[in-house]
Amino acid sequence: MTRHVVIAGAGPAGLGAAAGALRAGARVTLVDAAENPGGQYHRMLPDAYAAARPGRLQHGWRGFERLRGRVLGNPRCDWWPESTVWAIDRPDRGAPHVHVLRGEADAPERERHVLRPDALVLAPGAHDRALPFPGWELPGVCTAGAAQALAKGERLVIGDRVVIAGSGPFLLPVAATLLEAGSTVREVLEAGTAAALVRGWTRRPWELAAQAGKTAELAGYAGLLARHGVPYRTGRAVIEARGDGRVEEAVTARLRPDWSVVPGTERTVAVDALCVTHGFSPQLELPVAAGCELRDGAFVTVDGDQRTTVPAVYAAGEATGIAGAQAARTEGLLAGWIAGGGSAEARELDSLRRRRDRGRAFAARLAAAHPIGAAWPGWLRAGTIVCRCEETTYGALRRAAGDPAGNSAAAVRLATRAGLGPCQARVCGPAVAELLGGPAPHHRPIAQPIRLGELARPPIEDTATKESAR
């Protein structure tokens, strides 16, 4: 019988996985919350825009379009847009059951489906990690990913006097997108010091040569910033946002290598938007729900063939390490091929595995070149909000952590409600974990909100026989 592979996420990793599984001869159900495949990297314009030149804003658009066409056009591929995996369970310790809601985002009365595939590939992607600082809750302060999504996804420019700050190479494409859209980028601030960046990026240069496309892309951004006269400053961070009801100015300061502030170097810059990113947080609730073990509490553990520690469950893309779109696609191809029943001995896997390993080396380099400085909590004041949802302050967290009656991380969370609000610690989780010690929480049995009325109705069973009878 034809194997059935469910793929959660249709970004570069998920699309790659679909292609791999289809090539192996499997039947695929490709599930994504968005209307179009592409994920964040290839976020597409809405069909209603009838864009004549959608590829203008995209890197590697041709390759993406080919892959998308091949996957979605395959009769063995069932594409489920606007579909959210809200839970995964393994009632009989076999292949997991995948619970999906189909319908508009957060709409009531979406269709509830249960998929029982032979294998599951998890390609959930990641979102920006943002460290807290005084004033980061002001409107007009957003993640770099938000600015990117709005500009690429619907041509909305977040502001006209923008500072982009944080750490990592993602600062650059966001600056490029805003410049392309006609915004004025006041400055781009990389918190890492120049010495740390040079150390991280010039180590083992032969690895970089293998990532020539990525290197050229980054060099292109640097040239664009220079042409627009946008300063790219290293060893400098936004340590405060100020404004009356919305952000009006950013306070920046020079940082030491551990990200402590050099006193007396503070400057204010007038802004109407401030975009921050300090790397990426993989979305781990689905892998955790499936029972997958994590590496360092931060990424899904996978073997050389992208198998997780749970039988019949594979993972690809940022969930296994932040390495970017190309690496994600390669991991996806491998994961999908194996999940679809392809032979692990197949000769063409050799080059795929080599490319995947280069992607992993690139991820390691990225992490080494852009570590988060341990002294960042020095930016915080007692009244600084750490958990945005519950408005838990740094002072309240420290008081609770120092209370001898209940100073376990879990007790502090319960006492202060940090991480217990609507976002379920997706945003503050890593920061709170660093402040209190211990791993960031990823356990969210209900991975996406479901309404009680939806839960109350019986699900639609999507059995293999029904689907293949189409």
Partner: protein, 104 residues
């Protein structure tokens, strides 16, 4: 200045806009078919439309459905992520407040 839509005439992607109208707490706003609710609100000069527990204003933060800061009520249905929901012509969007919730 405020957030704004790239003018269609200047847009390198060559798009064709179909206007749409929604209301925010009864006030009419215009946007473009295909925009998210958050995009329409931002493009109309709103940077905040929700209140946190203290009553402090909130708008878009993560922009991709992870932070839940931009929640709105759409046609009577609460807790819709404005950054993930496409606006439809005639949508009645109302603001939400966690401060008011707590006071209830």
């Amino acid at each position: 200045m405020s957030p704004r839509l790239v003018r269609a005439a200047d847009d390198a992607v060559g798009r064709r806009d179909t206007p749409l109208r929604i209301t925010l707490d009864g006030e009419p706003l215009t946007g473009v078919a295909g925009q998210t609710v958050a995009g329409v609100l931002l493009g109309s000069g709103r940077t905040a439309w929700r209140e946190g527990p203290s009553g402090a204003p909130r708008g878009v933060f993560c922009g991709i459905g992870a932070c839940f800061d931009c929640l709105v009520t759409v046609n009577g249905v609460r807790d819709v992520r404005a950054c993930r929901r496409r606006a439809r012509d005639g949508d009645a969007v109302t603001t939400q407040s966690r401060a008011r919730e707590d006071a209830r």
